[in-house]
Symmetry: C2
Subunit: 341 residues, 2 copies
């Protein structure tokens, strides 16, 4: 099923059920008003919401309205735990080559669960001089997962999947790996897709705890990334959640992001003239800049400017959008870059 | 005023108002049922709660019952953002001497807002071999604080103060400062005092954004720490919140902890036989072990065992407990160490 949260002026918004084709929606009247309520009591509420979803898809639901992604907050507008991994080693290898990488445990950090941004909302950031970057990936919303759960057990603790776009401030991010506690300021906000879906919506693209579909990222209308989200994911969602649950219970509504989706590059040419290439592009500017440095001498691509837009979307094999698109504009605190200004 | 959250079987519990002397309480019936509701709409609800508090202290409130700290969840049972600083440089200097320390910006990390533990609840942790440590400090609950707020502005964004006890797993914590993303597993839970209070409850002990009173920590009934919480706090609460708000809005209900309270040691003796001492003790075992290494050759104090209890409390000048006491027992997942077993 597909769920979203509509703006209603409150901090938690109003839960809605969205049709599979993202055209129609209805309120979950009589079942739940907030997404966190559903996550708190999933086994009781999810079957009722599934019934509404079935009716909605069959054209038999009541009080139906046209779904409008611009009215969406993040599917869960605030989360008691936002975790983000670096599940694609090729991203870290490009952008943080000096960091020690474990092959047995995912690299993971905790972030700002109070700073989630709706799919079409403007993202207010302080200064372009901070090196504003996007970072497109996927994120899971977890059930209660007991301490010490195995990766296989944790797979059953996935309630919903979404697309994510984590904004980072690259100039505030220490390049040296020596500042374990210094990153609070460099990850200001996360954008999330309008719709969150249960894993069955992915069909056979959901295999081994990974989503085997290309992620599409566009920057100011130009497609810059179409990496496969399943291909080079070194740790599947169950492994990511189990990592977080190793020493404590992970509570319902916690979110675990994959970090930037990235595919391994290809290398061609003889030893004397080897050239690396990344035919599927990039999902963060820092990667593009690292690619440029490997291919030449200069990282010529600059970071985001106010007014720039970033779009992230994923389509199924038939070409239909699964989660709806994240499409956000970067705006200064004074409104610079805003379409409203 | 003093507020707390009583257990009622739900994840968010039931908001109560507690009398100044911590003897009596009443439900906030008709005003709010959950603490987050109050934080979301403080300027509307706080005056109403203050009225109830005044009535309660005057013996004129209705439906009053005896306050029982063992019925408390964390005052805010789950938070969309738990931040923890290292506001006392003497703690980091002792326990992480190899870490780079900034004198202009606080060291701060993001933690698990879904893993807050009631003041008298057992703390379930996986294995004593992980090096279970306590870490007593204070924490503020923030209002909405706009991006870029100054430290002085951020001081007005403090809604409530509490005591905190952050559990850490020292053997899982990399001693090298090279694992910026590697700490998710080493900070499993935070205990919070039964009661959260507005800053006016501290009287003239609240000065310059700091609490100028000794913190009392006992381990298995033996007092081990009584450091002054104001004395060596290098960054006041306004500076801590402003640090978090530098690049994004901090949303209501976010919590900012000071980290382990610590006072600078004293040094006596001639140059040839100088000896450091810490007459006010310690608020984390890692500190005690570092002190032992400086005074001799062996860190002889071991970390917590199942069944160990840690008590954290702060009293005003008249000797009355301000926040109630955190008094928690460490228990294994199988119940080892539990008083119920």
């Amino acid at each position: 099923m597909k769920l979203a949260t509509y703006k209603d002026g409150s901090r938690d918004g109003q839960l809605i059920v969205v049709s599979r084709d993202l055209r129609l929606a209805c309120y979950a009247t009589g079942i739940a008003s907030r997404m966190q309520q559903v996550l708190d009591d999933w086994s009781f509420m999810a079957p009722q919401l599934q019934d509404v979803y079935t009716q909605l898809n069959a054209g038999r639901a009541k009080h139906v309205f046209a779904f409008d992604a611009s009215q969406c907050m993040a599917p869960l507008p605030r989360s008691h735990q936002w975790l983000e991994a670096a599940a694609y080693p090729s991203h870290l290898a490009l952008t943080q080559p000096q960091w020690p990488l474990s092959v047995t445990e995912p690299t993971m950090r905790q972030g700002a669960g109070d700073s989630l941004v709706g799919a079409c909302d403007e993202v207010v950031l302080g200064s372009a001089a901070m090196g504003i970057d996007f970072g497109a990936g996927l994120a899971a919303v977890a059930a209660d997962v007991p301490m010490g759960a195995s990766a296989e057990q944790a797979l059953y603790g996935i309630r919903l999947l979404m697309l994510s776009n984590t904004f980072s401030l690259r100039q505030l991010m220490p390049s040296a790996p020596g500042y374990a506690w210094g990153n609070v300021q460099s990850w200001p906000a996360v954008g999330l897709s309008p719709v969150a879906v249960t894993v069955d919506e992915l069909g056979d693209a959901w295999r081994g705890g990974k989503v085997h579909l290309p992620l599409h990222t566009s920057w100011n209308g130009r497609k810059v990334g179409m990496c496969d989200a399943g291909e080079d994911m070194a740790f599947h969602f169950g492994q990511l959640i189990a990592h977080a649950a190793k020493t404590r219970m992970v509570h319902a509504g916690s979110m675990v992001g994959t970090g930037v989706v990235s595919n391994v590059g290809t290398t061609t040419g003889k030893a004397s003239s080897r050239r690396s290439d990344w035919p599927k592009g990039y999902h963060s500017i820092a990667e593009k800049r690292a690619m440029e440095l490997q291919q030449g001498d200069v990282a010529s691509t600059g970071y985001l400017q106010f007014g720039d837009t970033v779009r992230v979307e994923m389509k199924n094999k038939d070409g239909f959008s699964i989660f709806g698109a994240i499409e956000q504009t970067i705006v200064s605190p004074l409104g610079e870059g805003s379409s409203a200004s």
